[in-house]
């Protein structure tokens, strides 16, 4: 056994922050608004592809350098340039990071917004799950075969975090972990505020009975589009952080498994509950890391068991057990109360 505990903890916290963003996003879409988004990995991949594009094209531009094709013959040269800029020009590295987040959020949001209109054409919302599942996979296969985005199946490497210029690798990863956690905390706060507002009430009404919501003058299509914009923007931000954390963008990471992991997180935590989404993200991340570490240890000790596959069995069992014994999740959604309820309680007390 030879495990670097600090590094493991930093990695765990970073993964948790990213998973939390994905879970909050899906919880808003499905948990609160009832839109079964089975294309979560696709929306996350939008962020990753955005990072690949900005780190290979925008970064040299911001540093005053000319663009070098990151694929093919000039691959090594382009990689060297990226790495030099990120190590020596803090302002450019940070600026590029912020711009990447913004672009990813906007692009992800717009694609999510447009996707929501597909729902209008489908007779049942569960068909949307299939459309997104298949559509996301189609885009993934397209990107894998189309060079300009991420050099096709080769992927793009050398996408360092925004703190590579610090020099000390561990300090840079601690700062990155803190940044990820800060973003996750801010998103959690935002999602809580959103859910406990009249907008949250409207989302839950649409989730429960869209026909009646429509009959009460609510523009159901627009509300869905709005929540898909928000959810997809958050997923794309998670995608940027995911790519920066790995330092590598490849289409192989944004597969159905990623989507299903996020689904397990929100079902385990409690659908519609933001705190539940956080708890689900934490439990699944810890299990994921533990199985990964165990797999490595098994490998080193020469045990012939591919332990990585155990996680799929584990997550599947968790899902089944939760659905059977605690379908409301570990931290169930509380009945919604806006300040209006406190107002009436006060009114009653005064009377």
């Amino acid at each position: 056994m030879n495990i670097d505990l600090t590094a493991t903890l930093i990695a765990l916290l970073t993964y948790f922050g990213i998973a939390a963003l994905m879970a909050i996003s899906l919880n808003l879409e499905y948990g609160v608004a009832g839109i079964p988004n089975f294309g979560q990995a696709f929306f996350v991949s939008i962020g990753a592809y955005t990072a690949a594009i900005t780190y290979t094209r925008l970064l040299p531009l911001l540093a005053g350098q000319s663009f070098i094709n990151p694929c093919g013959a000039t691959l090594a040269q382009a990689l060297q340039l990226r790495s030099d800029i990120m190590r020596t020009m803090p302002a450019v590295a940070l600026g590029n990071f912020v711009i990447t987040l913004l672009i990813a959020a906007v692009v992800g949001g717009i694609i999510g917004y447009l996707t929501s209109y597909v729902i209008l054409r489908l007779k049942q919302e569960w068909y949307l799950a299939l459309v997104l599942l298949v559509g996301g996979e189609t885009v993934r296969i397209f990107v894998r075969g189309y060079e300009p985005v991420i050099c096709a199946s080769n992927g793009i490497s050398g996408i360092a975090g925004p703190f590579a210029w610090i020099g000390n690798t561990q300090a840079a990863s601690i700062l990155f972990a803190l940044l990820v956690l800060l973003l996750a905390a801010a998103t959690f706060w935002y999602s809580q505020k959103l859910v406990r507002s009249p907008f949250g009430r409207l989302l839950k009404a649409v989730r429960e009975n869209e026909q009646v919501a429509l009959g009460l003058g609510k523009n159901v299509a627009r509300v869905r589009a709005q929540v898909m914009f928000i959810g997809s923007a958050i997923a794309a931000i998670a995608g940027v952080l995911f790519a920066l954390n790995l330092g590598f963008v490849s289409t192989n990471d944004y597969v159905v498994n990623m989507t299903l992991d996020v689904w397990v997180m929100i079902v385990l935590g409690g659908l519609g509950s933001s705190r539940g989404a956080l708890l689900g993200a934490l439990i699944i991340t810890v299990l994921d890391r533990l199985t990964a570490i165990t797999a490595i240890q098994f490998n080193r000790s020469g045990i012939e068991l591919e332990f990585n596959y155990v996680r799929y069995i584990l997550f599947g069992m968790i899902l089944l057990l939760v659905l059977r014994f605690r379908p409301q999740g570990l931290l169930p959604e509380t009945p919604f109360t806006t300040p209006a309820h406190d107002h009436l309680v006060q009114e009653s007390a005064n009377a």
């Binding site: 009249p198 009975n209 009959g215 009460l216 928000i230 009436l344």
Partner: protein, 249 residues
């Protein structure tokens, strides 16, 4: 207030509505009766914009609403109730009541996270919701989930909820179905009060004829997708053809 002209609806070769015309004058309570399958619910669904007609015209408050969407029709002031109370059962009584309020700032995702922006408006709405709930004796239940109410209370909540959108007219589909007789009378008294005091117009589908006849100004009788008779409750009661199709006499 509401004018329906020569409305037709065909479902896969079945003529559900076959040239229905009716008029509901402002400030009146008009009844709509007929045996099961005569097209009453289809008519209400079409008027409310839930399903489109095959042909014909509907005018409400001098607007042509024939092909308008349900949310636009509601915004014009025409609200509907459903046969089985269609509440948001997982939400509280108060949230159900607050939902239909038009143009809430807090319903916009830009403003939603900033409570300061919408709190005052929400409190004003809560106060008027509280008054609506008092009118139907549900004020003390505001914090309960809608699913915890009795069948009759659900109907009353549905009515209170419709009123929060400040409608000019309500379409009610069997407002007393599955409700104890005493509470059913209560519901009709509320309807009567709302009509007289708030000037709200009603079109009501109902099977409790004795109650309907007591409170309505006029009654339409539908049979096989057509209007077969129209008149005052007394005229309808005395109509031999109506008695034949409706009561089998």
């Amino acid at each position: 207030m509401l004018e329906v002209q020569d409305l037709r609806k065909e479902f896969d070769g079945l003529q559900a509505l076959d040239g229905v015309s009716l008029t509901v004058p402002k400030g009146q309570i008009v009844g709509l009766i007929g045996p099961n399958g005569s097209g009453k619910s289809t008519l209400l669904n079409i008027i409310a914009g839930t399903i489109p007609p095959t042909s014909g015209q509907i005018r409400f408050d001098s607007h042509d609403i024939t092909r308008s969407s349900a949310d636009d029709i509601f915004k014009l002031g025409l609200a509907r109730g459903y046969q089985d109370a269609s509440l948001f059962f997982q939400m509280t009584v108060l949230d159900n009541t607050l939902l239909p309020v038009k143009q809430q700032r807090g319903e916009h995702p830009w403003y939603a996270p900033w409570r300061r922006v919408w709190n005052a408006e929400e409190q004003t709405n809560a106060t008027s919701a509280s008054q609506r709930l008092s009118q139907v004796n549900l004020r003390s239940h505001f914090n309960k989930r809608a699913s915890d109410l009795s069948g009759g209370q659900m109907k009353l909540l549905e009515m209170a909820r419709s009123l929060m959108g400040s409608p000019k007219m309500l379409l009610l589909d069997e407002p007393t179905a599955g409700v104890a007789p005493a509470l059913a009378l209560d519901i009709f008294r509320h309807i009567d009060t709302l009509c007289r005091e708030a000037g709200i117009t009603f079109l009501i589908v109902e099977h409790r004829l004795e109650m309907l006849f007591e409170f309505t100004d006029s009654v339409y009788v539908m049979h096989m997708g057509r209007v077969m008779a129209h008149g005052t409750p007394e005229e309808i009661e005395a109509d031999a053809a109506v008695r034949e199709v409706y009561f089998g006499e």
